[in-house]
């Protein structure tokens, strides 16, 4: 089932082309039902869970697509897991393609007197969305964006396929929004969303790394120097072999973790998957540009889209170093 999903996504996104715009890819993914991938069957979904979603993240990464699928999926997950009364209508709105925003980096939000204050960082799609999913140990909520006390600051990045914003909440009212969890339930749900986010970034990074690597090997096979294809030069071959091994390792860790998601170590597993995948993607991108030579630093070639995404992905989630420190703490027991 997941394989079929993956193949279908691959075909659709190959048709859409590398770096396809949000205008093109968002309607596509809504129409093809990708928002329903993880949703339980009794709620109208196809119940493929996070592994299913990761198949899509992987393909979106492969084609550096611009659609804000991750925030939408985080919101779907949050709503589905919550015990709110009007859950079904929220699911209907979200799965119907209403834009929703969510932070891809730190989110520190607190409730004060029924209103929200705090900040959400690297929020994707904050300009087009009705609501922002906020999640912290204290609260998980769908916060209305078009209301007083909400400040949305565009943060342009080199990776033009992602529209990111900083959102500051200063006593923003929840009217029209909904609290999904508070207290212990918030901590548990927030943790679950963090795991989802880390695996999503990992899957996307692995997909992109694979695509960029394949593109590079193809280029080396085509391009000739001194009467031979570059792919025949052993120094380049060995570098490609090392990259292939590294990508395989990141991919195996991701897949292996997704097979074992229900253990108590899901958080650490997500940390490891994201850290290794993002670091590997960065290495692949750095080498891929070098192996392509001059053409890769021109906008005519797709390399730069992958390179810029690789730069960004390192810093999403908890950011560099923080992941490694968390993983170490899991080994050291403190």
């Amino acid at each position: 089932m997941i394989e079929e999903l993956k193949d279908a996504a691959h075909r659709a996104l190959t048709d859409a082309g590398v770096g396809a715009s949000e205008d093109k890819t968002w309607p596509l993914l809504v129409e093809l039902g990708w928002l329903l991938v993880a949703l339980p069957e009794d709620l109208g979904g196809i119940e493929q869970g996070l592994p299913g979603a990761c198949a899509i993240y992987g393909e979106l990464g492969r084609s550096v697509a611009a659609a804000p699928y991750l925030p939408a999926m985080l919101a779907m997950e949050a709503v589905t897991q919550s015990g709110i009364e009007d859950r079904d209508s929220w699911i209907e709105r979200l799965s119907g393609g209403e834009y929703v925003a969510a932070p891809l980096a730190r989110c520190s939000v607190r409730v004060k007197g029924g209103a929200l204050s705090g900040a959400a960082s690297a929020v994707q799609a904050a300009d087009t969305a009705e609501h922002l999913l906020v999640f912290s140990d204290e609260i998980v909520a769908m916060a209305p964006l078009k209301t007083k006390g909400v400040e949305i600051v565009p943060r342009i990045t080199w990776d033009e396929t992602r529209r990111l914003f900083d959102v500051r909440l200063d006593g923003a009212a929840l009217d029209g929004g909904v609290v999904l969890a508070e207290g212990d339930a918030a901590r548990a749900l927030s943790r679950r969303l963090t795991v989802h986010r880390d695996f999503a970034l990992a899957a996307e990074s692995v997909g992109a790394a694979n695509a960029m690597f394949e593109m590079t090997v193809e280029y080396l096979k085509t391009r000739k120097q001194y009467g031979r294809p570059l792919a025949m030069f052993q120094a380049l071959k060995h570098r490609c072999a090392d990259l292939k091994m590294q990508i395989s390792a990141a991919e195996a860790l991701l897949q292996d973790s997704l097979d074992k998601l229900d253990t108590e170590d899901a958080l650490t597993m997500g940390r490891m998957a994201k850290q290794l995948a993002a670091a590997t993607y960065f290495t692949v991108a750095e080498e891929a540009v070098q192996l392509h030579g001059g053409i890769a630093v021109t906008k005519e070639h797709a390399c730069h889209l992958y390179l810029k995404r690789a730069l960004l992905n390192q810093h999403l989630g908890e950011g560099v170093d923080r992941y490694e420190l968390d993983i170490a703490a899991s080994v050291l027991g403190a």
Binding site: P229, K237, K244, M245, A252, T263, M272, S330, V331
Partner: protein
Amino acid sequence: MQTNGSADSEALSALRGEVRAWLKENMPTGWREAMTGVEQEAFVALQRDWFGKLVGAGYATPHWPAGWPGGGRSLAEQKVIYEEVARADAPRLIMYFVALYHAACTLIECGSQEQKDKYLPGILKGEVWCQGFSEPNAGSDLASLRTRAELKGDRYVINGQKIWSTMAQYADRCLLLARSGPSDPPQGGLVYLLADMRAKGVTVRPIHQITGDDEFCEVFFDDVEVPVEDRIGEDGAGWAVAQTTLASERGLTLVELSLRMRYALPRFRDVMQAQGRLDDPILRRDLGALTAKVHAACAVADRYLLKRIAGDEQVGDASIVKLCYSRTLRDFVSLGQRMAGLEGQYDVAFMRGATQETGHWALDFMNSYNWTIAGGSDEVQRNILSERMLGMPREPKAWRL
């Protein structure tokens, strides 16, 4: 972190529990300490003892056909046994590995009924075998093998030299690859023989390793006679038979070794604590990055075996597993020796049968070369990967000097 077991079927879970309980009861404790700084004989005694116990329990030969002790196990079951052995940090059966895997599988797959009847029972009784493939100056280039096997009547007469033969000083028999004809094609002209290590003309010289150990040997053959009936396969088919030998461990070893590395991660806690640097963010950052790689190496080995079980293996997959393990191991031991500081340099533990994660970091660092050089060096794996898996063109064969 618990990552084994959750995907087990009920039968596998039961086996896992059974093996775990048996190991708890039977595994020699404190064997590492007992093997430190001792003569080879002590290590041999440990190996014999442990071999006997495993054979008795049926855990030494799960890969043999049904009918043999513990035989007829699926690859998935064999994997469970290997995982539990790694988890328990039991000794590796270094001295018997060639007999149990290389010799036995070659006999089972390519040997005649007479050969099976003659040799398999002896293996179970503890006969030691060694491998005679590598030669000085040959490396992974089979075409340049120079040990001669000359057919005279009903026997081959062997002259030449082999190297890197594990524990050959204790071996009863040798899996010998020798040249009986011209190397055209490069794999051609080889014959695969079962040589008697007690025969006249065989000399074994242990190699003094830089760690103080001497588990590898040179073996010299000087007019050594091997009867024709101890040839496996046809004359000239030696290369193909050798492939069977090399494929016999089927990825299990690297599942075991990467798990050993993962189970040894807490050793970093020990060394950081000993250095008074348990809270040092520098070391923690490095440890975090390494930990993800170690888990990934386990996942790579694990998924490779699952692919084999499912019959999905593709060319180059095995090279990824080997290269991933060897590079991760190098990262592992490098960080350890770095953390251990000056004190680590004073830790001149010399341990027989040491694996690569004893926590004696300088020793482990040196032993790690056993995996980046031997069994197909990293460089050979990179060639295989790039050419056979990625389809990057080989240099034409006509390019010779």
